[in-house]
Every structure is written in structure tokens, then in C-alpha cells.
Subunit: 159 residues, 3 copies
């Protein structure tokens, strides 16, 4: 492993860390910037994923759609105040895919409601393709594959 390979690995790890800190800090306006302009983003269940079902609970095919989603969330703002905490496991680089470097990582999201109650909100796996975009790595494709199909219908924040 060369120094360049080590550097890339740490850069990718940094991207994953920055991503979850952005969400946990409720800085959703910055969230679309983690993606390429022509990105693919989907939240789906492991069951659907394994069956090759194309649809997802959330589905976007461009960075602009992600921006629209953030605007909608901010305007609607119907959901009860809550905090999210993402724990993301070490990343796993798998090689080159059609849209970029294939990487996956496990995650767990803990949700805390205003009254202090904590619950496991989501657990699963990110299945991603990453691409250099200018001087930064971005998500060209992100599939958020949830272990549970019983998802809060108010799934408000991105994952």
C-alpha cells in the first residue's frame, strides 16, 4: 500500500464522517453538497434490495432533487423536534464500479426525542459509488439499505 493509497483511504473515511456529522448537526442545507450533480440517492429495505426492486422509500436522481427535499422538509417542518446520532462503522472499499469507486459501510442511527427518549431508529448499510469532483470525493450513488422494513412513515431527515 502506497502513501497515496493510505491518503485516499483516510480521505474517504473523512467524507463518511463529515456526512454523518452534517446530518446530526441538522445542517441539511449542506447535505446535497456531498453528492455529484447527477447523483443517485435511494433509501430502501434490505428485502427490496435483495429482490432487485428498483423503488425506494426515498428516491432521487440528481442533486437538485435532494435540494428540493431539504426545502420541503424545512417548509413543512411538521415533525416533532428530534435529534439523530449516526454511528458509522469502518468503510470497505470494493473496487471500481460503473459510476465510481464502490464503498460500503455499516451504520446505526439513534434518535432522541424532545422528552429525552432514545430509540434505535435505523440500522443498515450504505452501498455507495464515489467519484472525484474537483478536489473532493462525492457520492455519485448512495443506496441506504435498511435492515428493517418497518420504517417510520415520518422518515423526515435524510440518512
Amino acid at each position: 500500500m502506497s502513501l497515496a493509497a493510505v491518503e485516499r483511504r483516510l480521505e474517504l473515511e473523512q467524507l463518511y464522517t463529515d456526512y454523518v456529522h452534517c446530518l446530526d448537526a441538522d445542517e441539511l442545507e449542506r447535505w446535497p453538497d456531498f453528492f455529484t450533480e447527477d447523483c443517485f440517492y435511494r433509501v430502501t429495505s434490505a428485502e427490496n434490495w435483495e429482490a432487485g426492486m428498483p423503488l425506494g422509500l426515498i428516491h432521487a436522481t440528481s442533486r437538485n432533487m435532494l435540494k428540493d427535499r431539504v426545502s420541503a422538509l424545512r417548509e413543512a417542518n411538521i415533525y416533532e423536534p428530534q435529534r439523530y446520532r449516526h454511528l458509522v462503522g469502518p468503510i470497505r472499499a470494493l473496487g471500481e464500479g460503473p459510476a465510481g469507486l464502490e464503498v460500503e459501510a455499516n451504520f446505526l442511527v439513534v434518535r432522541t426525542m424532545q422528552d429525552g427518549e432514545m430509540t434505535m431508529f435505523a440500522a443498515g448499510r450504505y452501498v455507495d459509488e464515489l467519484r472525484r469532483d474537483g478536489d473532493a470525493w462525492k457520492f455519485a450513488s448512495r443506496n441506504v439499505v435498511l435492515d428493517s422494513r418497518r420504517i417510520d412513515t415520518l422518515l423526515a431527515i435524510p440518512l
Copy 2:
């Protein structure tokens, strides 16, 4: 720290990540390959571990015993469909032990049942010894030390 030391650290981290992704993907047939042929594998409670009790809930002294265990799991197949998600913390290399490099890491396993219910299944610490075997690192010894002694008696999948 030399580049070789950095490289080794990242290789070890990769091994831990690959290991949990193998289990979470239910690719149990590949699981014994993470171990040396003469490996030691045990799942035990922190209470027993600290008391120096040799027995464990699961106990194997070779890779072949791990293969047998996988075969038994596949044939019996009595357990309800479920998914596991391992979150493994950063590894901690401790030095050379009798069977190889001593490494430990915290972990948490979330289990999701078919109906979507998520529970914390296990939390604890891996206490390992690792050895080069050909061109890969393998577990010469893995003790899975569980914080809770109240373990599901149907403890089906490896940890």
C-alpha cells in the same frame, strides 16, 4: 510510525470490517476463512472471562470445527429469519502475544426480526490474536467477550 506500520494498521482494520460484513451478509460459508487452521474461537460472558473460566457458550479449537458449526446452522435452519448488523469500533493493537498480534475492539450487534423489530442483541469486546497466514491476516484466537450473560439460547449466528 513508518509507512509499513500504517499499512499494517489499515490491513488489520480492513480484516475486522470484512469479518463483520461477511456475517451481516449471511455469507457464513466464508466465515471460517477468517481464521487460521489451528484457531481458537470462543464466545463467553465478561463475568466468566474475568473469572478465568475456560468454558464458553461456543467453543472451537480448529477451523474445521467452525465449518461444522456453519453446516449445522444451515441444516438445522430452525431459527426465525433475522438480520444482524455489527458496529465495530476502532481496533486497538496491544503487542505480541503467544499466538500472534494481540488486538481488541468493541462491538455492538443490532438484530432485526422479520417483522422489522430491532433490538440490541449483543455488546462486548473482541479479544484476539492475529497471525499472517500466506498473504493475509487471520484470527489465530478470537474471544468474543459479551457484556451480558443473558444470551439468547438460540444464539445462532457467529459473532
Copy 3:
């Protein structure tokens, strides 16, 4: 990124890992050694943190105060036997702050009671400043920012 930068990153990651393993192993007497002599340590809620409230559930302004806290915990020893397991996410280095290098990291703590019951005890974020002290990195300042304000009033062990 130079080899020196890679090295620093891995050293910092090691510090975070060693810190949580120290707590999880109940080796509290070693805990103050992770801090500089003139350290600042506070456990607070995200609500108070965002409101800029200076007080915390726990508040210390020197390493000696941390030692006193450990002594008090050991002498009182009123709490029910329990184990903690910290999962700490990848660290995020943010630059130079007034007291040292600014770093943050997400964490989740699972508590296991004597009867084996596991609960999510705490989730949140470490907001830290780190400084070289001799040949080791130490916490010059650590704010433990908890997502939930509903904290166990017997909050016994450090976080």
C-alpha cells in the same frame, strides 16, 4: 497528506480508542491521565450546549478534580454493578482552537446491568481540544454533549 499527517491522525484515533477501553474496563484510576493538568471537562446536554449555557451535569477544571471524582466514585460505590460499552465513531479533526487541536467524534454507550439487561445509556458527541503533553496527546478540553437531557441522576461513571 504527508506521512506525518497520517501518523497524527492514527495517533489521535488511538487516543480515542484507548480512552473508551479504559472506561469500559472500569480502570477509572487511569482516566485522569488522558487529560492535561489544567484540563476542562464537562458533561452537558445538546440543548444547554446550543444555548451556550456554561454549566454541566459534571464540570471539572483540572486533572486533580477528575482524580477527586474517581476517588468519590470508588468510596461511595453505591451504584448497582453495571458494564458500559462505548462505540466511538471516526474522529473529525477541525483545526486549531484556543486550547489545542479541535476534534469531534460521535459516540454511543450501551449499559448492561447485572441481570443482563442492555439499554442505550447515552448518545452524543465529544467536542474536544487536544494538546501534545510530553510524547502523548491529551485532552486539554473535553465537552461530552449528550443528545438526551434525560440523564440518569446516578450518572456514575465518566463518559
